[in-house]
């Protein structure tokens, strides 16, 4: 899950809510979905709150390799 994108997490959260709203979902499934929803919200929150990242500079070196360095 750490590589899950914000956009996908948000979509899944929306999906869970509409599933819960529509379907006649059994109790254990409801609990599972609820917990997944909380986890997704937490993931989104972490992304939203994540600290400023340092800007990188990309340069293609003479060997044709990409070099990423912190832009000072």
């Amino acid at each position: 899950m750490p590589t899950q994108k914000f956009e996908d997490a948000l979509k899944r959260l929306e999906e869970i809510i509409s599933n819960l709203e529509q379907g006649d979902i059994p109790l254990d499934e409801t609990v599972k979905m609820f917990q997944e929803g909380i986890t997704l919200a937490k993931l989104c929150k972490d992304k939203l709150q994540s600290a400023e990242k340092e800007i990188q500079k990309i340069i293609k070196d003479t060997n044709g390799e990409f070099q990423l360095t912190i832009l000072s």
Binding site: L20, I25, K45, L48, K53, F66
Partner: protein, 405 residues
């Protein structure tokens, strides 16, 4: 007697001699002239040289513009175009013809850059490069943004500060380029191509701050336009001030009026997004608790409080988790969760209260009619003299009804 024409009084030349003299005279007299006229019979030779005629109502002049010179032109000359040509007259001895050897050429009336702009715009539009169907959707939540601009300009500073304010977690990668003067367009095109080769970028911002038409010119060049057009990564153009429109803007998947505006467009506002997530969480809670309430009613009927215990614990734990995660950001929401927990506690108490033992514990007792051992719910079930049994939290007692009211 034949008449002898006496020509000895005049100097006598061979054709070569007179032609050389004409050449010298003309070339010395007209080694730098400005000539105004209309272009006709324009031809671009396969060698790259331009051949055309400059004319007005009464005369015409052959002209040539060599490849080395015409490569510096921003526009392509066309028949009917009024121009100002600077150059020198040269004479070809072999054919006895003279022509204008053009150094520089300027359109008359509207500016050269303007003509070049319109020409390229028309050509690329006809090719379909501006078609809406070609435009790629720009991602709503990019994780990595590539930027093609000068490392020292105002544009990069503006973009970085705005993105960091709106959505600080986004990774920015700058590919520094020259954004004006000769060779800038090629550098920009190369940078876009390289980002595509690198790949791990969700969207590109290509641009620079405001400047003169000449300064912005690299964004009006074909190489820049082509690179934007062939980019697999969506491109946001961000050139100059709001009023400046460049070819890059027409080809880009999204045009931002300024570099700052590009930064606003490329990432959402984190605070607003959090608000949306809170709303979703509220819905999630409402739906889930509604479900539990519904089940709770069923359970009450079944008088089996234990079955509810496990999911209740789970929901409480999750509430606490959420309490922690929403933290400082959303005090009101925290309160909402606290209310939720309180509500769940009350729910638990209510379930406990349903246990008849708990009722008796609080001092209530149950009355049974002795003859059939039924629970007495109303006085009409009894007549005076009936035997009754009273059941307390601890122990029982029996007695006889004296009077029914």
């Amino acid at each position: 007697m034949a008449m002898l024409i006496v020509m000895d009084a005049e100097p006598r030349y061979t054709v070569s001699e007179i032609t050389r003299l004409i050449k010298t005279t003309l070339e010395d007299s007209f080694y730098s002239v400005l000539i105004q006229g209309e272009i006709s019979d324009f031809k671009r030779h396969s060698s790259g040289h331009f051949y055309f005629t400059l004319k007005d109502q009464h005369a015409q002049l052959s002209a040539v513009m060599w490849r080395g010179k015409n490569m510096r032109l921003y526009f392509t000359p066309q028949d009917g175009m009024k121009v100002l040509a600077k150059g020198r007259i040269t004479v070809f001895e072999k054919s006895g013809r003279y022509q204008l050897d053009v150094d520089t050429l300027q359109p008359l009336g509207i500016g050269e850059l303007q003509i070049a702009f319109e020409q390229l715009k028309a050509r690329l539009r006809d090719e379909g490069l501006f078609d809406e169907s070609r435009k790629k959707p720009v991602p709503v939540f990019p994780e990595t943004v590539g930027i093609v601009t000068s490392p020292t300009g105002a544009a990069i500073r503006d973009i970085v500060s705005i993105i960091n304010r709106r959505f600080p977690g986004v990774q920015l990668i700058l590919r520094p380029v020259k954004v004006q003067a000769e060779g800038a367009a090629e550098e920009i095109a190369q940078a876009i191509d390289e980002f595509n080769e690198y790949g791990a970028v969700d969207v590109l911002i290509v641009g620079r701050g405001g400047g003169s038409l000449e300064d912005l010119w690299p964004f009006n060049e074909e190489s820049t336009a082509r690179a934007i057009s062939r980019s697999k990564i969506p491109v946001i153009s961000a050139v100059g001030h709001e009023i400046d429109f460049t070819i890059a803007d027409f080809v880009a998947d999204l045009r931002a009026p300024t570099p700052s505006a590009a930064a606003e467009l490329v990432v959402p506002d984190a605070a607003q997004e959090w608000e949306k997530i809170i709303q979703r969480l509220r819905r999630l809670y409402r739906i889930t608790t509604d479900k539990f309430n519904f089940l709770n009613e069923k359970i009450q009927l079944l008088k089996s409080s234990r079955a509810l215990q496990m999911p209740l614990d789970l929901i409480k734990q999750s509430s606490l988790q959420l309490d922690m995660l929403s933290g400082k950001l959303e005090m009101s929401y925290q309160n909402h969760i606290k209310n939720r927990i309180e509500y769940l506690n009350q729910l638990e108490n209510r379930i406990n209260a349903l246990n008849p033992e708990a009722v008796l514990k609080r001092g209530f007792s149950i009355t049974y009619r002795s003859k059939d051992n039924t629970i007495v719910k109303e006085s009409s079930q009894l007549t005076s003299g009936d035997g009754v049994i009273l059941k307390f939290f601890k122990g029982e007692a029996s007695g006889r009804i004296e009077q029914v009211n």
